[in-house]
């Protein structure tokens, strides 16, 4: 029963069992027994009894027992004791003998009940199946990969392989004849069912049946699952299942479906009438059906949200409050103003204060109710140089061009020549003075875009000679002899896939295939730290907008939050089912968004490390993310060539921008958030009217509560302009402080 949740579903199902005890109860008992026995022989009985009494939630009890069992097996007696005491479990709950016998007893009891219900033959096979699984379990667990074993062994229950096709086509026939409004919803079941049935066939060594099954029904699946199906089609042997990630992803997580209550009832009734236990078992064990009350969703609504590796997000996954507001800008003290004005010119005092007040007032005067508290996470203190930079920023901001649909930005394209297809990552500094490239030959190169050349700091011996009291000491420490436009930094031993400047322009981060993230000093142009933690390629990394923190994500499906002065990660964000392909910090630095090749986007809370949002809807691996400057929205681009817009506060998809024909590698909002620029492999930069896309929203409470979105197809209206490059894929975009759009890519003849 654990699989079905949502509202009052438990009570519901309880009644169902009563009305039709023979089939439903039978299926459930066996399902539970099969799994529980294989996971840990001891937990079967208690789960069974708990279900009747419903005193403790069966799930928790079960996992707890499993953990205890594991600890005990590994001779961690002390931990067992502690855990047991904390959980308040009686001592004998772990006595293997007692539980074993109890389990056998309950199994037997179930058998008797079912015998009365009829259906003798299938019952026998079921009982033998479960008991054999129970017998095998201990030996299996003893092997080196226990969790994988456990995961796979759920498949060990045997059904007649030839009947799989019958079951599936029977269900298919049923769903096709059901009322239109339910059909779209119920069709969601097809894909996960198909995959699980196929895997079950493969696991039980029915290779030819599995192939036939695949041939027959793979064509029915939605086209956006094509990629997964291709992987599946290659998988025909049990031995191959073990190392296969896609499969494990599928098994370790429950495929989430959102189905209205009516549709669900229909499905359940059908399966019970037909005694289609095979399918019912799969639905119970491997699917999570999120039942909602109200109108069934339409096909387009479903299609908009589905496509990820593990189905849609559960509704409650997106319920947590997210403080998406911006932090208050720090007040810049007057002395600094004076200093700045002195540096600029003498008479600036009255003039300069005015614009500053204005630009700051709008943001800082009234505290945004959605903003996190200023010290929710500790942020580094501003240094003098940071304050200077802030002042520069504000000055620039006053000269900023207001963009809009009738006032599009100009684009400067930075082309990397002679890069021989080796350019893998690009970043600009916020003030657009430096550009850095990560290359496939493991180098990191930094160019100065302005006439100001790049210089190293002098050597220690030379530094000793400098007069430290002089005003221009910062200028004096630089070594004129090393001035050049380009600096190359060596250190990585694999392609550099991600690169990011620190906000103060003193550091540069790079992540590479060699599994490290490196921090480089832009004063000495040397490597300062190599952060080791990801043991696999690190696909992306980014500095926090306030510096100090940074996030990285890679092939190990885990995103890590680091601080530059810690060699170990501060947080580990785990939950994605496949590689993390891109990582972005929220403008207020309290959240991190990650995109993954499991086709979902997750937003994580830096403070707690929890996942606070899961966005599904992309049909391909996500390769770019961008937060809007006001922190309310998130844009994401994927290999499917679509840009999706998300409302972070409500956890909803709010827009879809179609137009690109290839992977979108970069997204960027203009400084004021009016324009969204997207750069793609298809050699174009496209500009979208973000204002309009967000303004048109009316997020009523109903939509917010149910998560049912109605997307209008207005991509063409929102598309403001297309800039075509000359055979140069666009891999990075950046708006200067005055809203000039910079793009970068390698010429690819």
């Amino acid at each position: 029963m654990a699989a079905v949740q949502g509202g009052m579903s438990d009570a519901d199902i309880e009644t169902d069992i009563k009305t039709e005890p023979s089939t439903d109860g039978f299926g459930n008992n066996n399902a539970n027994d099969g799994r529980v026995l294989s996971a840990s022989p001891g937990s079967g009985s208690s789960t069974g009894s708990n279900k009747q009494t419903a005193a403790v939630t069966p799930e928790d009890q079960q996992t707890l027992l499993a953990v205890l069992q594991f600890l005990k097996k590994n001779k961690l007696i002390e931990s067992v004791e502690i855990l047991r005491r904390e959980a308040g479990l009686p001592e004998n709950s772990l006595d293997p003998k007692a539980t074993e016998s109890a389990g056998a007893g309950s199994g037997g009891a179930a058998g008797i009940v079912d015998l009365e219900g009829g259906d003798v033959s299938s019952l026998l096979s079921r009982v033998t199946g479960s008991s054999s699984a129970g017998a095998q379990a201990p030996t299996k667990v003893a092997e080196d990969q226990p969790d994988v074993r456990v995961v796979l062994s759920a498949y060990s229950q045997q059904g007649d392989p030839t009947l799989y096709e019958v079951y599936y086509s029977d269900l298919k026939k049923f769903i096709e004849t059901v009322l239109d409004c339910h059909r779209a919803e119920l069709s969601q079941v097809f894909y996960p069912l198909f995959v699980h049935m196929y895997l079950e066939l493969v696991y039980n060594n029915h290779e030819s049946e599995a192939k036939a099954f695949f041939e027959k029904f793979s064509g029915d699946q939605e086209c956006y699952y094509e990629e997964d199906l291709r992987v599946l089609s290659g998988l025909t042997k049990k031995e191959h299942m073990r190392g296969n990630e896609t499969l494990l992803d599928f098994r370790t997580s429950k495929f989430v479906l959102r189905i209205s209550r009516d549709s669900y009832q229909l499905l359940k009734r059908h399966l019970q009438e037909r005694q289609n236990n095979q399918i019912w078992n799969i639905i119970q064990e491997h699917l999570y059906i999120d039942i909602f009350d109200g109108m069934p969703r339409s096909k387009s609504q479903i299609d908009a949200m589905s496509g990820s590796l593990a189905g849609e997000a559960k509704r409650e996954a997106n319920k947590t409050k997210v403080y998406y507001g911006l932090l208050k800008e720090p007040e810049i003290e007057l002395p600094l103003d004076d200093e700045d004005e002195e540096a600029e010119n003498e008479e600036g005092k009255p003039k300069k204060k005015k614009p500053k007040k204005d630009s700051m007032g709008s943001k800082s005067k009234k505290q945004d109710p959605n903003a996190p508290s200023q010290n929710r996470i500790p942020l580094p203190e501003l240094k003098d140089s940071d304050k200077l930079d802030k002042i520069m920023y504000m000055k620039e901001a006053t000269k900023r061009i207001r963009l809009g649909s009738d006032n599009l930005p100009s684009v400067c394209f930075y082309t990397f020549l002679n890069a021989y297809q080796g350019l893998t990552a690009v970043d600009f500094t916020d003030d657009s003075s430096l550009i850095a490239g990560g290359f496939a030959d493991s180098t990191v190169r930094v160019w100065s875009v302005t006439p100001k050349k790049l210089r190293k700091v002098k050597s220690a011996a030379d530094l000793n000679l400098i007069d430290k009291e002089s005003d221009d000491v910062l200028e004096r420490i630089m070594d004129e002899k090393t001035a050049s436009e380009l600096k190359i930094m060596y250190g990585h031993s694999g392609p550099v896939y991600g690169i990011s400047f620190s906000p103060d322009r003193n550091y540069l981060l790079s992540s590479s295939e060699d599994g490290t993230v490196r921090l480089w000093s832009l004063l000495t142009f040397t490597c300062l730290v190599a952060y080791k933690g990801h043991n696999y390629p690190v696909w992306d990394t980014q500095f926090s907008p306030y510096g100090y923190y940074f996030v990285s994500g890679g092939h190990d499906r885990v995103a890590r939050l680091w601080a530059t002065d810690h060699y170990q990660p501060l947080r580990i964000f785990s939950g994605h089912l496949a590689d993390i392909t891109c990582t972005r910090f929220h403008p207020n630095s309290n959240y991190v968004a990650t995109g993954s090749s499991d086709r979902t986007i997750r937003v994580w809370d830096v403070l707690s490390g929890n996942c606070v949002r899961i966005f599904t809807g992309h049909k391909g691996p996500i390769h770019s993310l961008a937060f809007s400057p006001n922190g309310k929205f998130l844009a994401s681009g994927a290999t499917d060539g679509r840009v999706l817009l998300w409302d972070i506060g409500h956890g909803l998809m709010v827009g879809e921008l179609k137009g690109h024909t290839d992977t979108i590698y970069s997204l960027r909002f203009s400084r004021d958030g009016e324009i969204l620029a997207s750069g793609s492999m298809d050699n174009t930069v496209r500009l979208w009217d973000a204002m309009k896309a967000f303004d048109d929203l009316e997020t009523d409470d109903f939509t917010a509560a149910t998560g049912h979105i109605h997307l209008q197809d207005n991509s063409q209206e929102l598309l403001l302009g297309t800039y075509t490059t000359k055979s140069t894929p666009v891999i990075h975009l950046h708006f200067t402080r005055r809203n000039l759009l910079l793009a970068a890519g390698a010429f690819n003849p």
């Binding site: 290779e207 192939k211 041939e215 992987v231 089609s233 290659g234 998988l235 025909t236 042997k237 191959h240 296969n244 599009l408 100009s410 684009v411 400067c412 394209f413 930075y414 082309t415 990397f416 020549l417 002679n418 021989y420 297809q421 080796g422 350019l423 893998t424 550009i435 490239g437 290359f439 496939a440 190169r445 875009v449 380009l486 694999g494 392609p495 896939y497 295939e513 696999y536 390629p537 696909w539 092939h555 590689d579 090749s597 290999t639 024909t661 992977t663 590698y665 492999m681 050699n683 500009l687 403001l720 302009g721 297309t722 800039y723 075509t724 490059t725 000359k726 055979s727 970068a744 003849p749």
Partner: protein, 590 residues
């Protein structure tokens, strides 16, 4: 069970597995091999799938060997070495044993180490701010979506266009703008192929687009493409192919656009008579004329030859090192002219002899009669031609009548005189051409007999104006004779030119018997390219082999193309690829 369904992916056969096992000294049973084969396939697929991830993150579309190796390394498999070359590796088979393998040539390290021409190394990676759009509306017009020529298309055609552009150009929508891709020979080649398929598509009415197609093709023939700067680029093949295509378009669609022939010939002529143009343009012009038929050659090339010859000779006689490249180009032009002229002579002689047979009694042979010879003069009674031959009729009519203002006064030259004059240019290399035919043993009196020693200065009977021929017998470089096989129209020889009497003189020059034999096309020049022999598979294997059976004098000469290819010996991949290119282009006409 594996047999009854169609396969979804590539497989390694169990035979291969067994073979490899044998190679490692293991004997495998049948079932073991089958299992292994299946497992190998699975592992390969898995590795490929994970390698595609590396490709995506490197922001590339092309999966490289390196990506694959990375995937292997991360799954704890040894990487494979030796396949990392940028260029395509030739895949070869050994007939006996049915073995397929990658060609792996020996690289002479000594030669490589002692090579004096050290490659300069690749240019430094740099960043350049190259485009800056200042208009507010994006750059849709200059390089974006659809060129104006396309916007007027109907919906269906537009879709067709989009399909084509996507297929041909990948992402670059520059169908009608060949110029924009002039740096990329491969793309141009593809473009030409596309034009060909457009022309050949019987369901497509090209209408007025023929003109733009022709201009695109002409561009490929004539322009000094950016790619031509690099001698390694095989732009000659492109020109040949484009010329062939031109004639094809002309023969099939010439009736759609009036005055097309005239325009084409005129522009070719203009290029040819412009000495400032680079040699490759001249080459294109000659090839283009050649492709248009011998009549065009006679009209344009022949009258220009004396003037042009002086230029060419100057180029060819310059032996300075700096001139080497230009000279190689010059030889190309020389070869092209030679072939064109040869065809001209043959066809002319043929037509003369045929008409002589037809109207044997009409006029007693006189030179004056030959002078009145004219191509399809419209004023005269219509010749019995097939339908599309009439297109030529119309076209030529127009050029003579309507737009003929620029047309030079053209007086046909009698065949013997023509031959003599040509001989004065080409010397024995021309004669050699004719000697290859069956009946050439007994040659005409004016042909020299010292065929054997071709390097000597031939005692040309005609006054060699100022040129002496030190020309080695560099014959047909890259000669494709399009009229032979490119267009079907060629086969019926040009129709009886009415009232053209046969001069006795011509019979003296060329014994009549020779021309009555139906086999008129010389077998020699159609399959000889750059001294390479295309009939046999020698690609890559023995690159310097120039032996050629049917035309021994020709093959004795080291082919010019290698003169500039030799220094590239360090780069193994490059030449091989080019060979396949020229090979390919040759296959088309044949």
């Amino acid at each position: 069970m594996a047999d009854r369904e169609e396969r979804r992916f590539a497989e390694v056969s169990r035979e291969s597995v067994r073979l490899m096992a044998e190679g490692a000294g293991v004997e495998l049973g049948d079932d073991v091999a089958a299992l292994l084969a299946e497992d190998v396939c699975y592992r390969l697929r898995e590795a490929t799938q994970s390698s595609s991830q590396f490709m995506r993150h490197a922001k590339r579309r092309k999966l490289t060997v390196e990506d694959f190796n990375r995937a292997l390394r991360w799954s704890n498999v040894e990487a494979i070495c030796g396949y990392g070359a940028q260029d395509a590796l030739p895949f070869r088979s050994v007939k006996e044993g049915e073995l397929f393998f990658v060609e792996d040539r020996d690289v002479n390290l000594v030669e490589l180490a002692l090579a004096t021409n050290i490659p300069k190394g690749c240019a430094e990676t740099m960043v350049r701010v190259n485009v800056s759009y200042l208009d507010g509306k994006g750059n849709l017009e200059p390089q974006g979506t659809v060129p104006t020529a396309v916007q007027s298309l109907s919906d269906d055609l537009l879709k067709y266009y989009q399909q084509i552009t996507r297929a041909i150009l990948g992402e670059d929508p520059h169908l009608m703008k060949v110029k924009s891709v002039s740096h990329d020979l491969e793309q141009l080649n593809r473009l030409m192929h596309m034009v060909k398929s457009l022309v050949q598509n019987p369901y497509l009415y090209l209408g007025s687009y023929v003109r733009s197609l022709v201009s695109s093709v002409m561009y490929c023939i004539l322009e000094p493409l950016a790619a031509s700067i690099n001698p390694l680029n095989d732009h000659w093949t492109l020109r040949d192919y484009a010329a062939l295509l031109l004639s094809h378009i002309f023969w099939t669609h010439g009736d759609l656009v009036s005055g097309l022939y005239h325009q084409i010939v005129l522009s070719l002529q203009k290029v040819l008579s412009d000495p400032v143009r680079p040699l490759c343009s001249h080459y294109g012009a000659v090839v283009g004329l050649h492709a248009l038929g011998w009549k065009a050659v006679e009209r344009v090339l022949f009258p220009h030859l004396p003037a042009y010859w002086a230029n060419l000779q100057a180029v060819l006689d310059d032996y300075s090192v700096s001139n080497a490249q230009v000279k190689a180009d010059g030889h190309k032009v020389y070869g092209a002219i030679l072939v064109a002229v040869e065809r001209l002579l043959k066809m002319k002689a043929l037509s003369l002899s045929q008409s002589a047979e037809g109207h044997s009694g009409a006029h007693p042979g006189s030179v004056v009669g030959a002078a009145s010879y004219r191509v399809n003069s419209p004023g005269l009674s219509p010749p019995p031609e097939p339908l599309s031959e009439a297109a030529l009729g119309i076209a030529s009519h127009l050029q003579v009548g309507g737009a003929g203002c620029h047309w030079e006064e053209w007086t046909p030259v009698p065949l013997p005189a023509m031959y003599c004059e040509l001989y004065s240019f080409f010397g024995d290399s021309l004669a050699v051409r004719f000697s290859t035919g069956p009946g050439f043993g007994t040659h005409s009196p004016c042909a020299p007999s010292q065929l054997s020693d071709s390097r000597k200065e031939p005692p040309g009977p005609a006054s060699n104006l100022d040129t002496t021929r030190k020309m080695p017998q560099l014959t047909a470089n890259l000669n494709i004779s399009p009229r032979q096989d490119g267009s079907p129209r060629t086969d019926p020889p040009p129709p009886t030119t009415r009232g053209a009497p046969i001069s006795g003189l011509s019979r003296e020059v060329f014994p009549k018997a020779r021309f009555t034999s139906p086999q008129t096309t010389p077998p020699a020049f159609s399959f000889l390219i750059g001294g390479r022999q295309m009939g046999q598979r020698c690609q890559g294997r023995r690159p310097f082999q120039t032996m050629f059976a049917t035309t021994p004098p020709v093959s004795a000469v080291p082919p010019r193309t290698y003169a500039h290819k030799l220094p590239v010996i360090g780069r193994v991949g490059k030449p091989v690829r080019r060979w396949t290119c020229s090979h390919y282009s040759l296959h088309l006409p044949l």
